[in-house]
């Protein structure tokens, strides 16, 4: 009876560690776009691991945990992508360390698709 509870709790501890690392990344990263990256990627992995660990700990709830995991895995990237586009659109500056801004050239919509292919 005890082993799967232990395994589930260790998995959720691992997930909680990734959640903490995600939040640490949101705190330490130099500009919005890096923060968004850590805030989405590692927290998604962290919450999936935590929920899976809790599902292993309490097997009757595994179905609902899977739904929650699927939901987080689908919506987190979409929301951060929309936010990144919006942040770049309103001109939030990149950090000085960044090398190139790919999105700037494509800003003017009137440029035809052909020219963009040549670039």
């Amino acid at each position: 009876m005890e082993w799967y509870r232990l395994a589930g709790s260790i998995l959720s501890l691992l997930g909680a560690m990734f959640l903490f690392l995600g939040a640490l990344g949101v705190w330490r990263m130099p500009d919005v776009y890096n923060r968004m990256q850590t805030g989405t990627k590692s927290t998604t992995l962290g919450s999936i691991l935590t929920l899976f660990g809790l599902g292993v700990y309490h097997p009757q709830w595994m179905g609902q945990m899977l739904i929650l995991m699927l939901f987080i895995a689908v919506t987190n990237p979409i929301s951060s992508h929309a936010l990144a586009r919006a942040a770049h659109h309103i001109g939030v500056p990149l950090t000085k360390k960044s090398v190139v801004d790919e999105l700037v050239e494509e800003e003017p919509p009137q440029e035809s698709m052909a020219e963009m292919e040549e670039v």
Binding site: E2, S12, V26, G46, T50, Y57, M65, I72, N76, H89
Partner: protein, 86 residues
């Protein structure tokens, strides 16, 4: 013993909540604050699942799901507002 490990996991996640809310306060631009809000939400969903385990109530998992949906819509609304489309 297993319960203790989950309490530790909840503590670690709470540390994450503190850091993300610190970024939310400090964040220079609106996008920073929304990113911190998004991170807070995902951590809160996991905390809600842990609370559902401790309180032995399955309904809290649905609360976490609805909270996730509302937070997702919130971030999308902020993104559209920033782009001026709202």
């Amino acid at each position: 013993m297993a319960d203790l490990i989950i309490y530790i996991a909840a503590g670690v996640a709470l540390l994450g909540v503190v850091l993300a809310s610190a970024r939310m306060v400090k964040g220079p631009s609106v996008a920073d604050r929304t990113v911190a809000l998004d991170t807070l939400t995902v951590i809160t969903i996991s905390l809600m699942a842990m609370i559902a385990l401790f309180a032995e109530r399955v309904i809290y998992l649905d609360v976490a799901l609805v909270y996730g949906i509302l937070s997702f819509l919130g971030v999308i609304a902020v993104a559209r507002y920033l782009e001026g489309g709202l």
